[in-house]
Structure formats: structure tokens, C-alpha cells
């Protein structure tokens, strides 16, 4: 039978299908393992009562003093925290940058190790050592108060003060020697405000004389606007501009042209 003869032969798409199944299985397994590994036991119920400055000092000495010193005076492994203020503590702890996983070009963002109450207690203790920038008032984080004009102004301020490092679309970008400006999409309003106010790591400080609290709120509103209004052109390829777009067109655009040319000139069997 003519049709029976086919049994010994694989379908032409069999290898592609096998490859796809393998990739999906490997990716799925990796994602599942990652989810389990990153699963965080929720500790909030145990600490729901308000913590005092003394509790903050205890937490600091247990978790931060190895590098920053018992009295936050700094050691050769970590800077002094005298005068950095509660805003700095909230940013560093609640974005997971501190405690630092390892010494490197810069601390990386990850899941926070502490609850908001624990972080606040440590922040209050650090602020009690010397005056420093305070956590922002709710008023300056409420972007619903920003008018359309303020939103446009936020865009102007963002392009003048932030876009050179963080990218026009807030997608982040590279700096020198392994340092980088992180992407800003989806970042908590308080953390954006505190980053401007305190200048974490190599980011410059933008104090209230440079960018007033109202203006900081406008910048946050603009970033929210970027979050809510994705790229008009469809896939933004990371919004990294000519690098990712060029890579895409050179590999897939020209690669596609080559493939079509090969198909056009090949002999049908």
C-alpha cells in the first residue's frame, strides 16, 4: 500500500514540533522552580503591632550593622548612615536593595526582606541619629491631583533631569563599569520620590530647591502616564531605541530576506 510506506518517514515538521515542546517544557520547569524558590512566607501577621524606634535599632543591629557599623557610623564595607534620613532607608530596604546580596557595582532590586513596619522602625531610628530627608507626605505621591498641564510639565522635567540615564520611555540604561540606571515602569510612587530626594548609589540628588515637591509629583504622574499608555507602534522591543531595534531588523529582517531569497531560488523537489 502506498500510504503505509509513509510510516517509516517523519512528518517534515516533526523536528520543529519536538524542539518547541522541549523548549516549552524546559521554560515551564524553570519558571515553576523559580516561583517556588522565590516564594516568600508572609510574615506580616506576626509584626502587625506598631514597632518603636528601639525595635528599629534592634533590627538595624541584627541585619545592617555588619557593614554599616553598630551605630550606623559606617565601616570599610559600608557607608555611614548618619544623616541619610528615613526616606533613604525606606527606598533601600523596601526595594530590596538593602541588605545587599553581595558587593558589586551596584545593589540590585529584589523582593524586600522586611515588612513596611520593620522598615519604618529602622528608618525612624536612623532619622533619630541626625536629621535627613523624611519619607514623603501622601500629598506628594497622589498623582490624581496633577492636571494635564502638570503632566506635560512632568514630561519636560523628566526629559531634562532623568531621561539621559533612565531613557526617554523610562526603560533604564547602562552607565560605566557595570553600573546602570534601572527601568522605572511600575515602580512605587514613594520609591521614585525617595530616589529623587536621596540619590541612591550613583544617582544624583534632586533636592527640593532643584525639583520642588510639586514637580516631583508631576514627574511621577508622567511615569504613571508612560505605564498606562504603552507604545503606539506596537512592540517597543524594550524601548531601548536603535540598539534593540537595529538588532531585531538585522537578525530577523535581513534573516527573513535571506530565507525568502533561498526559497525563491531553490528547486522544488
Amino acid at each position: 500500500m502506498a500510504t503505509r510506506k509513509k510510516t517509516g518517514r517523519r512528518h517534515p515538521l516533526a523536528s520543529t514540533a519536538l524542539l518547541l515542546i522541549g523548549l516549552v517544557a524546559a521554560g515551564g520547569a524553570s519558571a515553576a522552580v523559580g516561583t517556588i524558590a522565590n516564594a516568600n512566607p508572609a510574615p506580616e501577621s506576626a509584626y502587625s503591632q506598631s514597632l518603636t524606634v528601639e525595635d528599629g535599632a534592634e533590627l538595624f543591629r541584627a541585619n545592617c550593622a555588619t557593614c554599616h557599623g553598630m551605630n550606623a557610623q559606617g565601616t570599610q564595607n559600608g557607608t555611614s548612615l548618619i544623616g541619610v534620613g528615613a526616606a533613604s532607608v525606606n527606598f533601600q530596604v523596601m526595594t530590596g536593595r538593602m541588605p545587599m546580596a553581595f558587593q558589586g557595582p551596584q545593589a540590585l532590586k529584589r523582593d524586600p526582606m522586611f515588612t513596611q513596619e520593620q522598615s519604618d522602625a529602622m528608618g525612624d531610628w536612623v532619622a533619630s541619629l541626625a536629621p535627613g530627608p523624611e519619607r514623603p507626605a501622601e500629598e506628594w505621591l497622589d498623582t490624581s491631583q496633577v492636571s494635564d498641564e502638570g503632566l506635560a510639565n512632568g514630561g519636560v522635567l523628566f526629559r531634562i533631569n532623568c531621561a539621559m540615564c533612565h531613557n526617554l520611555a523610562g526603560a533604564g540604561g547602562a552607565l560605566t563599569e557595570g553600573k546602570f540606571a534601572p527601568p522605572l515602569n511600575g515602580v512605587d510612587a514613594a520609591h521614585i520620590y525617595e530616589a529623587m530626594l536621596t540619590g541612591p548609589q550613583n544617582m544624583p540628588v534632586f533636592n527640593d530647591a532643584n525639583i520642588a515637591p510639586e514637580q516631583k509629583r508631576e514627574i511621577i504622574a508622567y511615569l504613571r502616564y508612560l505605564d498606562d499608555n504603552p507604545s503606539v507602534g506596537g512592540f517597543d522591543l524594550g524601548a531601548l531605541g536603535p540598539v534593540s531595534e537595529g538588532l531585531f531588523i538585522w537578525i530577523f529582517g535581513l534573516g527573513g530576506l535571506v530565507a525568502v531569497t533561498v526559497w525563491l531560488t531553490s528547486k522544488p523537489n
Partner: protein, 375 residues
């Protein structure tokens, strides 16, 4: 011997070539010569052998053309069903997406269908097309010369030299108005004068970009980066050269801790209490350098990764830039506001031919050791 004489023997044999052999010691042995292997034997396609495969290929081609029709209709439907709503960016994206996909289907359907048709169903016999000489045959070349000579004779182009020469003169003058017109597109001002100096003047206050708010020395806390314009620039309209002036005068203002600040002799008076101001325009090709790292005091240019050390007179520590960023000498006025002492002492930005003629006598150059100590 002229070229005609050499080719004369070819004439009787018409287009056939008679090879003139010049022995230059590089003759090829006939036995080694490459032989034309000819075409491989013709292999019939599956569609030539099996009628059912031929019918299937026919259905596939028809299918592609039908898909193309569907794409064209879908494009019209998508344009009406997914309109662009004013102020709704997501609708622009959806509109673009559906229009693009359906038009791509319409065009690719025709293209792929036609190719499939040609590959599977049209005749598959190999065809050889011989190349021909580019040079025309001798009779046609002679005829062309004849036509030219006849034209010259009848028009009197060679004979009436006055007419000919005035015609050449008229054609030569035609582009002249264009030269004058396009020349006038350039700035009325001398180009070198336009870029050799900025609008900074002695006592001009430093102001925030874009608001024009004045800056006190005490406002510039450690780690801060202020993006600065001259105070009068904030009042200039966009149609009055705002961007031209900003592209020259833009300045980055930072405070470097005293123990980190290295100042060469002659420039100690150019900073105020550790606050230094540098041009934001890269000395490589003029990109805005503003990626300031507050712990390393390095300024990175995003275009080509030139890196400048602000604590060390903005000398180049990495990248293609050749000169440090020009420093703006600053001080404070009696109200505590930061002011410029004067304009930059050298032209800012990328190099140009006349640049050295515009370096001020008061300019304090960095020594060779200062500028060449690249990391």
C-alpha cells in the same frame, strides 16, 4: 595600429569571435582547461509526476490568492471597525496593528501564491541564455557616427560657433541662482562666530532648566546635579533662537567634596566652595553629556561612552573625546546667587577648524599630564 585596424580581420566573420593569441608566457595547456560540465539532468517535480499533487498545488495557489482577497476585505473592515479615536493612543496601536496585518496578508498572499504557482506548476525546464558582447557591431557603430555627423552638419553646431558658445554660456549660468539661493539658507551670521561664543556674560546668573529659577550656592547640596541655563535664556522664545542658544550655553552644576576636588593652578578661582560648572556639550561630536554618577563624579556621554572626571577638571578618562569639557568660571553675587564670572574661555563642543583662534588668552589649559592620564 589603431583599434579599428586590430579588429578589422573580424569583420568578415560577423559577430563570431576570432581570438588573437598574445603569447605572454601564461598560456594554458588545453588539457588542463576547465570544461563546462553542462546542466545536471532534468529532474521532474512531484507535481509533474503525480496528478493529485499537481491538483493539490493548484488548490494551494488558489488558497493564497483567496487569502489575499480576504486580507484586502479585512483591511477595509479593520479601518472602519477599529477607528483612531482622538486622544486614545491605544486605539492608534490597535488600528495600526489590524491594518498592517490585513494589508500584509493581502500583499503576501499575491506574492507567495505567484511564487508557488511558478515553482510548482509552471514549466520547470532549464533554459540557457547566452551572454552577449556589450560593444555594438561595427556597422551599427559606424551608423551612429554617421547620425552624429549628419546632425552636426544640419544644425550647424560646429559651423555657427557664436550660437554654440552662447548656448554653452547660458547652460553654465543656469545653476548660479541656485548657488545664491541655497547659500542664503545658512545662518546670516558668520558660522564660526555663531559657535565660538555662548551667551554667558560676566555676572549673569545661573538658572534652572527650564523654569529659570535662580540657584543659591546653598541649594547645591552634595551629590546634586543641576541642569543649568543662563537666566536670560528662560525669557527667550522658541522662535527667537532658544534652542540654538541653549545648545551652546547648557551647563551641568555639581558640588564635589573638597577632599575629592583637584584644581590646577590658575583655575582655583573658577569654582565656588566645591561647586563646579561644566559645559554639557561633549567635546567629541557635541552630544549632551549629562549622565552624572554622584559617587565616582564621572560624567558619561550616552552617544559614544566618553567619560569625564568632574573632580579632575572634567578630563577624559574613557572614550573617543580628546579634550576635557570646558569649565564655566562661577562665583556668587552679593545676594548669594551663583553667577558666571565670564563666558567659557574656549569654544564649547566638538572641534572645528578655527577653534584655536577663539581660545581666550585667559584660558588656563590643563597640562599634558592632566589630559593624557586616561584610565
Amino acid at each position: 595600429m589603431s583599434a579599428e585596424d586590430q579588429s578589422a580581420p573580424r569583420e568578415p566573420s560577423g559577430h563570431q569571435q576570432s581570438v588573437v593569441v598574445h603569447d605572454r608566457g601564461a598560456a594554458i595547456e588545453q588539457s588542463d582547461a576547465f570544461e563546462n560540465p553542462g546542466l545536471p539532468p532534468h529532474r521532474p517535480r512531484q507535481t509533474d509526476l503525480h496528478p493529485h499533487k499537481e491538483r493539490r498545488a493548484e488548490r494551494q495557489v488558489v488558497g493564497w490568492f483567496l487569502l489575499s482577497m480576504l486580507g484586502s476585505v479585512l483591511a477595509i473592515v479593520a479601518y472602519i471597525a477599529v477607528p483612531i479615536e482622538l486622544g486614545n493612543m491605544a486605539s492608534v496601536r490597535a488600528n495600526n496593528l489590524f491594518l498592517g496585518l490585513s494589508i500584509a496578508l493581502a500583499l503576501l498572499g499575491i506574492g507567495i501564491g505567484a511564487m508557488h504557482w511558478a515553482r510548482q506548476l509552471m514549466s520547470s525546464h532549464e533554459v540557457v541564455e547566452e551572454r552577449h558582447l556589450t560593444r555594438g557591431s561595427e556597422p551599427s557603430r559606424a551608423r551612429a557616427v554617421e547620425i552624429f555627423q549628419l546632425g552636426d552638419e544640419e544644425s550647424g553646431f560646429s559651423r555657427r560657433s557664436l550660437i554654440r558658445n552662447t548656448l554653452i554660456g547660458a547652460i553654465a549660468l543656469v545653476p548660479l541662482p541656485a548657488v545664491v539661493l541655497f547659500r542664503d539658507l545658512a545662518p546670516a551670521q558668520d558660522a564660526v562666530e555663531a559657535i565660538a561664543h555662548t551667551m554667558w556674560r560676566p555676572g549673569m546668573r545661573l538658572a534652572l532648566d527650564p523654569s529659570g529659577a535662580l540657584i543659591r550656592a546653598a541649594d547645591v547640596t552634595q551629590g546634586s546635579a543641576f541642569h543649568v541655563i543662563p537666566e536670560p535664556l528662560a525669557e527667550i522664545g522658541h522662535n527667537e533662537g532658544y534652542l540654538d542658544q541653549k545648545a551652546l550655553a547648557a551647563v551641568l552644576l555639581v558640588r564635589v567634596p573638597p577632599e575629592r576636588l583637584n584644581e590646577v593652578p590658575g583655575r582655583e578661582g573658577w569654582s565656588y566652595d566645591g561647586i563646579v560648572a561644566y559645559s554639557k556639550i561633549c567635546t567629541h561630536v557635541g552630544c549632551p553629556v549629562a549622565l552624572y554618577e554622584q559617587q565616582t563624579h564621572h560624567l558619561l556621554c550616552p552617544c559614544h561612552q566618553s567619560t569625564f572626571d568632574v573632580s579632575n577638571h572634567a578630563k577624559v578618562v574613557f572614550g573617543p573625546a580628546k579634550r576635557p569639557l570646558p569649565q564655566l568660571p562661577i562665583t556668587v553675587d552679593d545676594e548669594g546667587y551663583l553667577v558666571a564670572q565670564r563666558d567659557f574661555t574656549e569654544p564649547i563642543g566638538a572641534s572645528f577648524f578655527e577653534r584655536l583662534q577663539h581660545v581666550d588668552p585667559e584660558h588656563v589649559p590643563l597640562s599634558a599630564a592632566e589630559t593624557e592620564n586616561r584610565a
